[in-house]
């Protein structure tokens, strides 16, 4: 994305005023996991937003939010909000990229105001990697051989980031692809989980997400998974932080169970989309 | 499981290279001869009636023709050579192949045997179904039929021994390491076959049977474990010899194979630098013994 030259770019040394906030004395240095756990959850195992550890945030899904796109979807997972637009299939533009199979192009972008810290207009390294992860996950789900020599573009724009953006993006993208009638083997459902030493928090918010700046004394990590529920296949798997394989197994179980619960919701949303479409077609036919 | 060694512990491979009588070595721009009456061959150029080298390598003289054989080269085809190539493109009436030559080689539809006998006419349907016979990525053994003006090779597979290759393992070595022989197809006594392409592509596969070769069918059944072992060992022997710049032909490969078994090396041991030199030295000793 080209830089907008009309807009004044803040000096590079600018930083968010929130960093000047007074923090606990030990917040800057290493935090003991027990303290961290106390910060995130109270003694009754209730999170700050009144959820139980294994509860996910309320989910809202909608298709057809961008009228001109072939398919589009909007997802709201608590305060994490993002839009996905799908364009294509159309002929591959660059001839050097010729392939007999169809190709996916994914762009993952955070809106400049979506995070606590301002994001640049240009795709930064993190966004590039997220785009790649999204592409690899969707490639496993989309029947690419159905549209040879053509490309499909999937654009994700995060409007508000309150944790687990990749998980939300995976669900949203597969919903958008489905609403664009791109053939797929299965829906992709994204989910994330936060590991605290003795506790797992499903669908973490920004505050609950694992952050590298804290030196943890015990195992702590974040896991995002893209799961295809009907095929029982994992098409995205990103883990950051320290864990043992056994803990990862536990985390994976929780996440896939959650995905199985989300699947009917996405299906319902798609069903409504199709019904709406059929209804409007019916009206048109009646008009004739 | 893992073998990490320090660079200082790793032997040099070159010590094994055959050092026969000194050869006339030249570098680009060095004078080969001032005498006139010689013919200018590959790797040389003429200036002021003197002959200069244009590549680094060994001067070779055949009667009045002087040429320089470069130390490293892509494959220069000669008519009648056995080569192994990989299909890179299917175009009209022809396949294009990568044969380690400067230009892609060509296999014309008319120079392959299609199912149904040698005298079958090529119809328009054959042209359309070329990809069913050979598609991108497939390997074929073939013979150089002709060399075009631009140096590209035209191949043919009109013999039962040539054709599409099935399961096995391809090793790429420098073309100059392949010794020219009467036959480049060998059924080795260790239970595997080897095709030594003149272009430096060596194909190792389960023993070939005359009656099945030459077709367009690939056998995708599982290869027995014993055969795989033989193939893997041969593969490692070929790469070991190639790394030590030893000539490759059936006898040298079998010597390496036997030596590795006699020394009690496991197959994966042959990837280790010290074992590679050891094998090469053993092969050389064997040859010296045979000479006496």
């Amino acid at each position: 994305m080209p830089v907008d030259s009309r807009r004044l770019q803040g000096p590079e040394s600018a930083f968010s005023y929130t960093l000047l906030e007074k923090k606990d004395a030990n917040a800057e240095e290493s935090i003991l996991s027990a303290d961290l756990q106390k910060m995130l959850i109270d003694s009754n195992h209730v999170r700050k937003d009144k959820r139980k550890p294994t509860d996910a945030r309320p989910l809202f899904l909608r298709t057809g939010i961008i009228s001109q796109a072939k398919g589009s979807a909007y997802i709201e997972q608590g305060n994490t909000k993002l839009v996905c637009g799908v364009y294509g299939p159309r002929e591959v533009q660059k001839k050097s990229d010729f392939r007999l199979n169809g190709q996916l192009f994914c762009e993952f972008k955070f809106a400049p105001f979506s995070c606590q810290k301002r994001r640049s207009h240009q795709q930064d390294n993190e966004e590039l990697v997220l785009s790649g992860l999204l592409r690899e996950a969707l490639e496993a789900a989309v029947c690419l051989h159905h549209f040879p020599k053509a490309q499909v573009e999937v654009n994700i724009m995060v409007i508000e980031n309150d944790g687990s953006p990749l998980a939300a993006a995976l669900t949203c993208a597969s919903l958008a692809l489905a609403s664009a009638s791109i053939p797929m083997y299965d829906l992709v459902i994204g989910a994330a989980v936060r590991q605290l030493p003795k506790l797992l928090l499903l669908d973490p918010t920004k505050d609950e997400e694992w952050q590298p700046k804290l030196n943890h004394d015990e195992n702590n990590s974040n896991l995002t998974v893209g799961f295809m529920p009907s095929m029982q296949q994992i098409c995205a798997y990103v883990h950051e932080g320290v864990s043992n394989p056994e803990e990862l197994e536990q985390m994976l179980k929780i996440v896939t169970e959650y995905c199985l619960k989300v699947q009917p919701v996405v299906q319902l949303c798609l069903k409504e989309t199709v019904e709406k479409m059929l209804a409007s077609e019916g009206e048109n036919n009646d008009a004739e | 499981m893992v073998d990490i060694r320090l660079a200082s512990e790793v032997p040099l491979f070159d010590i094994v290279a055959d050092s026969t009588e000194p050869k006339h070595l030249v570098t680009p721009g060095s004078l080969i001869t001032k005498e006139t009456g010689f013919m200018r061959g590959h790797g040389t150029y003429m200036q002021d009636d003197c002959l200069y080298a244009s590549v680094a390598g060994v001067v070779e003289r055949v009667n009045q023709l002087i040429s320089v054989r470069p130390l490293k080269s892509r494959y220069h085809g000669e008519i009648g050579d056995v080569v192994i190539g990989r299909i890179t493109e299917v175009s009209q009436k022809r396949w294009k192949l990568d044969t380690n030559a400067r230009l892609d080689s060509v296999l014309l539809l008319q120079s392959v045997n299609l199912p149904g006998g040698e005298l079958r006419r090529r119809s328009a349907e054959d042209e359309l179904s070329m990809r069913q016979y050979l598609k991108e990525g497939d390997l074929v053994s073939a013979e150089v039929q002709n060399i075009f003006n631009d140096g590209a090779l035209s191949l043919h597979t009109r013999s039962m021994k040539y054709g599409k290759l099935s399961q096995g393992c391809l090793v790429k070595v420098s073309p100059s390491l392949i010794r020219r022989q009467k036959t480049h197809f060998h059924n080795l006594p260790c239970g595997a076959s080897i095709i030594m392409g003149n272009n430096g592509f060596v194909w190792i596969c389960p023993t070939l049977h005359e009656d099945v070769a030459g077709g367009f069918v690939q056998n995708l059944e599982t290869v027995p474990h014993a055969d795989r072992q033989a193939i893997s060992r041969l593969r490692n022997c070929v790469t070991a010899l190639a790394q030590c710049k030893m000539m490759l032909y059936d006898t040298s490969i079998m010597h390496a194979y036997d030596a590795s078994i006699n020394a009690g090396f496991e197959i994966k041991d042959l990837l280790l630098p010290d074992k590679i030199t050891e094998i090469a030295l053993m092969v050389r000793k064997q040859f010296e013994m045979e000479k006496e």
Binding site: L128 | V223, R235
Partner: protein
């Protein structure tokens, strides 16, 4: 166990090569015996040398079969990031030059470089791997920045593992000069560099992670895939395993998918393999260090 829909195209982040169906079948059927005689959990031989680059604070060159990686670490002073005032930092940069393979020409290698870079960053971020507060010089004002530049000289498959081993070796040898904060003269604290060039400290690299790539082929998975094997596989995982056998980062690679069960067993295997690799690498590095000044081999072979 169902197999994911097989896609014709191999993982996008590796150099693409052509293979025939039969060659792929041959690799698929290998029953714990790979084409080069290795078992599924064997690495190809690795050759290592450190301290090659005189201008770098730490350097290493590592060869794994045909993959060749040169890493140089430069130590510089900078002001710490505003959100982490008490820590220094590591900056990775991967250069996939066109020398490695012609496909990297132009911007060809950029995506791969980016992915490796980002994954290294991810795997080094957790507190278990490297203590970044050791790199702080003056809280909130000055810290050490370790620029880890990774040059890929040749690409012969399995870049993740090769790069991580080379980076670990380079960090092991990195010398950080001693610096003293002199007494506050007025408001400005003064930094004083030790006069003795040998007065340096080293990082504790015991727990620095090694990356282990596992590629899934058929119903099995293998470590250290050759380019041919990468071509046969549609998915795999890269796992960062720290010296204490813990997993510090994971990501799935390739355009295929994996069954949860096989994924879990891959993670377990990776952590076992990673621990062994780490141990052997540390042993070798110590060996080289105690051997003292031997003739450097460098590129003269």
């Amino acid at each position: 166990m169902s197999i994911a829909p097989q896609l014709l195209r191999g993982p996008s982040l590796m150099a693409e090569i052509l293979l025939s169906e039969a060659e792929k079948a041959f690799i698929h059927h290998g029953d714990d015996l790979r084409c080069d005689g290795r078992t599924r959990l064997d690495y190809r031989p690795i050759i290592l040398e450190t301290g090659l680059v005189s201008n770098a604070s730490g350097s290493s060159r590592l060869r794994l079969a045909n993959s060749d990686v040169l890493v140089g670490v430069k130590v510089e002073l900078a002001s710490p990031l505003s959100e982490k005032p008490l820590e220094g930092r590591l900056e990775f940069f991967v250069d996939c030059s066109a020398n490695a393979t012609p496909e990297f020409e132009g911007r060809g290698g950029e995506d791969l470089a980016n992915e490796i870079c980002r994954f290294l960053q991810m795997s080094y971020m957790s507190g278990d791997t490297i203590n970044l507060s050791e790199l702080s010089v003056l809280a909130g004002q000055q810290c050490w920045v370790l620029y880890v530049d990774i040059l890929i000289l040749e690409c012969g498959g399995n870049l993740y593992d090769t790069v991580s081993l080379a980076v670990k070796s380079a960090l092991y040898t990195t010398q950080i000069p001693s610096i003293k904060v002199a007494t506050m003269d007025g408001d400005q604290p003064e930094l004083e560099l030790s006069e003795d060039p040998y007065d340096t400290k080293r990082l504790n690299t015991q727990n620095v992670p090694c990356l282990v790539t596992l590629m899934k082929i058929g119903n099995h998975y293998l470590v250290d895939p050759t380019p041919e094997e990468e071509c046969c596989s549609s998915s795999g995982v890269v796992v960062a395993v720290s010296g204490s056998k813990k997993i510090t980062a994971v990501r799935k690679i390739g355009s295929g998918s994996l069954h949860p069960e096989s994924l879990v067993s891959m993670l377990k295997t990776a952590s076992e393999v990673g621990a062994v690799v780490n141990k052997i690498l540390m042993k070798k590095l110590l060996e080289e260090e105690t051997a003292g000044k031997t003739q450097k081999v460098g590129f003269m072979r």
